[in-house]
Amino acid sequence: MKPDELVATLAELERVRSAILDLVERQAPQLLPTPPDDAGTERTVFDLLVGLRRAVLGSPAAARDLHDVLIAQGRRFAQTDDGARLRDALASSAAVDNLRVAWETVSLNVLDGPAAPGCPPEAWAALFADAVVAQGIDDAILSRFRPEGFA
């Protein structure tokens, strides 16, 4: 395959990935909340947070890699005097507590927990299983497919 064709294939895969993410968001509307009516600061913050959630949910392996790189860099920085001082100040900051709540709400904690190298975290798959697969499916129907004794 020529380099041009490889790049075209990658671009096409990216379009497919984006289209599937659109579909997932339509099937699980709770992942894409209704935007505020006004076009002021609130709308700007909303768009930023939606973009962040879409980046995390749409590219979980890349987001997890970046997440891990930043944490590893943070741990290295904390071994210096300046880093240790900043770590202690951040750990006791109420503003960081508020930001943590915002981050967990936006990311739905899908970047935490176990993940094979280069693969999406297991929490990401579990979220979509809950939000998409089970959405609109009556458990009475699913139970017919479940072998006896299978939870």
């Binding site: 930043l70 944490i71 943070g74 920085f77 900043l86 750990a91 006791s92 900051s93 960081v96």
Partner: protein
């Protein structure tokens, strides 16, 4: 344009400096977060705190690039063209 036919024109539109400036801005926000000492309890640092520390560290490293005196800038022994030939 293709991978085998690079052109210099897109480099003029590179946003690298904007990316670096964005990281520095985020790092400064982290520094400001650390100033909020209204929290009385002293909790243990978790992954989220280390993630913020990572951003702060990268911002400091980027600011270090521009704080370096002009006369002391390290120049590579070989020109990039030699490796890009």
């Amino acid at each position: 344009m293709s991978l085998s036919d690079p052109r210099p024109a897109p480099a003029e539109h590179s946003s690298l400096v904007d990316y670096l400036s964005g990281v520095v801005a985020l790092a400064r926000i982290v520094d400001e977060l650390a100033l909020d000492s209204s929290h009385e309890t002293h909790s243990t640092a978790d992954d989220f705190v280390y993630l913020l520390l990572g951003v702060a560290s990268m911002g400091a490293a980027i600011e270090g690039l521009v704080d370096r005196p002009a006369g002391s800038q390290h120049r590579p022994a070989t020109t990039p063209q030699r490796w890009l030939r």
